[in-house]
Symmetry: C6
Subunit: 270 residues, 6 copies
């Protein structure tokens, strides 16, 4: 399977279900058409990644997703010379691939990456839309259907890990949050197969659990965990047991915090 | 012996003895069937690793165990190009192996690993269940019988070493603790060959020693050390001598703490 | 596409629009003719990069731009031996290219680079104008039409990242700031296609937003973001929505700061 | 001389003299027979290394000793691919050698090693006794006559360098201290050739010097240094001169501490 | 162009203009003849580098200049094996070159270099004057016409970056400062072509600006910047504009400090 | 010139002049004969290195000197595989050379080296006197005429750079200081050719300058600098000028400290 088939496989997959909340799809499309880079901000598990998958499928463009991390360097994005059969061969990274052939490159949690990624993001995010590959001597001009999307979670930025203003100010930006109750209920029901009214109860519960964020919890419960919970219930597990495994243990190791979460759960389902 | 035989050898080994305490086997099986990743939390030596071995044997799946550490990188999990005979050859890592052929991949003490492991964990732990191998250009889709299990010990997390919420919230989670007295007695007796009533005395002793945790001891005495102690006693060593070598010296270097432990031991056996 | 075509492509591009504010073009030309290196200081997105592009086109010289970052080393600028076909081949970096063939080398945000870049900057910025390439054994003398330009943003220097006096004092320097209102209005209108009077309102707004810098904002809103905003409005997006996506979300994650920004926006357009 | 001859040479050397103090030989033998890993704790130069050499010779097993240090990694213990004649060849490390062929592997001052050694210690120290070699794809099962012994000095542990409870609790442990006076006298006499009654005086002196530990000295004087002192005296050097060179200068650079030591020496020999 | 031609080219260049201030030339010559290493201390841009160039030309010796930096290692000075055509070939570094063929090796800002340079400096700076090349197995004895010169700026030493006494005390040392007014005037006039009396005014200005050092400025204005200023004035630029670009902006980003500098400039030229 | 000729060249050089102060030669010879490792402690430039050179020549043994530094690793001492002509070839380091062929290995400022040198020092400094070469699979036994000598300067140890007690206690140790006046005078006269009575005045001066150590100076003036001073005077330089270049500038950059030094110099010679 070649590198190009990697993106294709990704592009060919059926557009994942996504329930729009505001005008996020419109802003994404405008940014795509105006060739502006996009920054998504929002908490863990609120649907940013799925939104990008949805939009890529809707626009019919291949999607290259990169989960950024502490050791991700510019070369991981642009490509490298690999030694094969005694000969060095250049292998495009996901960003180069997207620039060369068109498509959306999505850098998830971009603040985690090493600082040298700015060397490739800056010329791609000004009016030149260029990707210089020093190693191969190429200067790629991004086609009209190339789009750069990055995301990060403002909830746990710290001093050493934040986007420099000189980078931030190159993006159109959009804030995400958990979907409103009705939408979240439908998402859970669709993903887990659990009846909508039982999902609605989980969404109510999520509201109380999310209210504990900040004081006791680093992050509120994500839509993903609600889907997990509904899946286990639908699979036949008792509600309290499923809730403990998906809405309590993954959120905290602190016994007092867990007791608070369990109390809220029992108040809803007990 | 090839890489594939490594997992096979592991898979073929007889299912290790495991005494269930609650519904942990049921939750593991549900997670396996629903294709949800699982997080095990609990203290040192309480049986997490053995539980995973037991479940892998019970489900008839090969098991790939990785003891994570400070320098473990994503490439240690996914694979590397090795130079052999002037030709580079790709060698799958244990995670890739498990995704390619099905099976359970168990990352023990996952918080110890380098941050770039998130790059492989995230796409494997959302609904796509994908493992992108940038180096080979492959995008592997996990088969239904692939399962990812990770563990960590909440007892000694510190700031620099904790699971990010964006990672934690991708797992169904389960807390482990030392087994209840009757179960622990049976485990010790079975492993050491020592008579059950003498093992019961060791379990009683463990309760007093574990009560010292937090104030004086970083960790309570593990079931493993109780098995060691019973083994030495069964081998003919005087009880106090065996207890010093297995329940005192391995737990602390502090003379006062050691005196406290010895006092508890003498109170039980003296 | 070879390395030389990289610069050429850059040099052949039509001179980008640039509205002069003071005598910056005159000073640049004098420095070029007197063979003096130039340092540009100024905030994010005020037009430093575009100014250099403009001057390179005006002087008809190829331009080599390097976005500096934490891991950029002297070798990234001068070149490297690459292994190809079992033979090592020297490949010039962008600085060497500019010295060898003439042209302007622009190091954007030079303080971000590793300290060893001083090894190449120092002999190039005294009267010798030499570039020693230890690896190839060459000692290149810069031709008359070589010019070194570096930039940085005095707004977010910290102790570990500042230009040593022994480096700074080798440059003729020039401070940049956002363009005066009339000029900025014209720039926005030209780039976005939005009517000049609507752009004037955006420039007025920018003044109030920039006044918040320091107390609440790390950086004032850039001309680039104003162009983004005008582009989205011109594309049909409601003004408040466009302003939120370009003048609020990219500037801050703090709800209070965002409220302050939104208030100023509504006071102008509401 | 091949790698295998390295251990052999070590195994064939005559059993070094060792005077047992308590039941340390019995505990070592039990641990060896029960296939339990062993942890030795004790101050510098009290005889831990010699004890392990003695036991290896007594049990007739080859011994692989590794002095651990800050940069020792798992690969230093397990082995590496080396490039030879254009072909990579796997070379076993000392731990792999001991597992493959049987024998005792002794990791001296194990807390100094890099954290990734836990990846090889953990599966070797639970009931599976396995050594996975990811690089070669092998999963070695330790034979009955393999034993792992590690040591460390509790006297100078600090926060960054301590054994994690999850590692410590995998070992049977034993504390070492300087030998009792009669034994130490015999050791010194045997090693240096000095008459026993003169050695007895040195042992008396050691008691006073060791009493200064903690307040003035980081470590008490070791048996090794007493042997050095006796050796120089036996070689004809005046007592005070020999004592200064072996019992004062090696222990401290502080003039006041040295004066204290010299006073104690003169009180004994003056 | 080969490595040897690098030094030659440097040696053949015409002796740069240098106006002696005290007996610095005599001390340099004595040190050269007595085969003693020399340490030059002084502020940025006061002429240390030019002095060394001047003396090298005067003594008719090739000069090897190395601008030291944070990542400069001993191997950068001594040489390396490079892989070429499948064969490793040793390539002398600049220090080895100077020792092998005679000449002056000048390490500019030596305190910036990595600590392992001491391994080559120490044996070269005691009476043996040896350069051991461990990698090639050579032990080079420096010829009579080899001289080592190092420099640093005492003005911005900090704790982590200072010369160890064991290194400092191996050098004859000399302090440099800006030249006295008449000399500096002549230097500026000669370099810029500006009339001497106009240069004298610049030197007077420099005195007031240098008086601000310490309180407001990290470094006083260098002779180099005065030459830049005179060059721009000579090229037709208005005095105040030239002074801002060369004597204000390169020295400080602080508005208050800049105002102070401008006031002094206007007081002289306004 | 091969590696072996490196040591030979060193061994063949005529024994350098050394004036014994106490019984240091006797202690060195005893340690050599008893096969005990030796630790030399003392300030910069007091003659430790020359003493070792002298003793090596006197004993007729080759000497391998290594100036230790922050990046010196065990492999720098033991050796490495180098790639040559497509084949890896083992090249002995200086320590291995000394062990293999007999001779003295001198590690100057050993505390500067990386921590992994302990892996080679420990087995060489206990009664086994072994050097294990893991990479070649050799276990070298040191011959009777091998001796390990290390040195360090207790004057500037800090917490991160000190010898662990487990390493220190493996050495016979000796403290060095500047030679007594008569001896130092003779050394200076012999090295510089200056008349003895003029050297005596320099030694007197050194006493006053050394008295300033601690309060104002990090290190007292070394014998080496006194030799430099006498050399310049003998070469015809005025005393005050020579003293400034050798006894003032190399010792301090602080103007007040320099004034204090100059005052002492003028009081002696003025």
């Amino acid at each position: 399977m070649s590198v190009s088939s990697l993106a294709a496989a990704s592009g060919e997959r059926e557009a994942p279900f996504y329930r729009s909340v505001g005008n996020e799809c419109g802003l994404f499309e405008q940014a795509f058409r105006q060739r502006l880079p996009l920054l998504l901000k929002g908490p863990t598990g609120c649907g940013k990644t799925r939104f990008v998958h949805h939009m890529a499928a809707r626009l019919g463009k291949p999607l290259y997703t990169v989960a950024c991390h502490d050791d991700l360097t510019a070369a991981d994005l642009t490509g490298r010379y690999l030694l094969q059969g005694g000969e060095t061969r250049w292998v495009d990274g996901p960003l180069t691939r997207a620039v060369r052939e068109g498509g959306i490159c999505y850098l998830d949690e971009v603040v985690e990456a090493r600082k040298d990624v700015s060397v490739v993001l800056h010329p791609l995010t000004d009016d030149r839309r260029l990707l210089p590959l020093e190693r191969t001597g190429e200067l790629l001009e991004a086609p009209d259907d190339f789009m750069l999307v990055v995301s990060y979670n403002p909830g746990y930025q710290h001093i050493l890990k934040s986007l420099k203003p000189s980078t931030r100010q190159r993006f159109v930006a959009m804030a995400f949050d958990f979907p409103p109750p009705g939408v979240e209920r439908d998402i859970i029901a669709r993903e887990s197969g659990l009846a909508a009214e039982r999902c609605a109860a989980l969404v109510n519960l999520a509201a109380s659990l999310r209210a504990m964020k900040g004081q006791d919890l680093e992050e509120g419960v994500s839509t993903r965990l609600l889907v997990y919970c509904a899946t286990l219930i639908q699979g036949g597990m008792p509600i309290l047991e499923a809730a403990r495994a998906t809405l309590v243990e993954p959120l905290s190791d602190d016994v007092d915090v867990q007791d608070g979460l369990l109390e809220a759960i029992r108040a809803t389902f007990g």
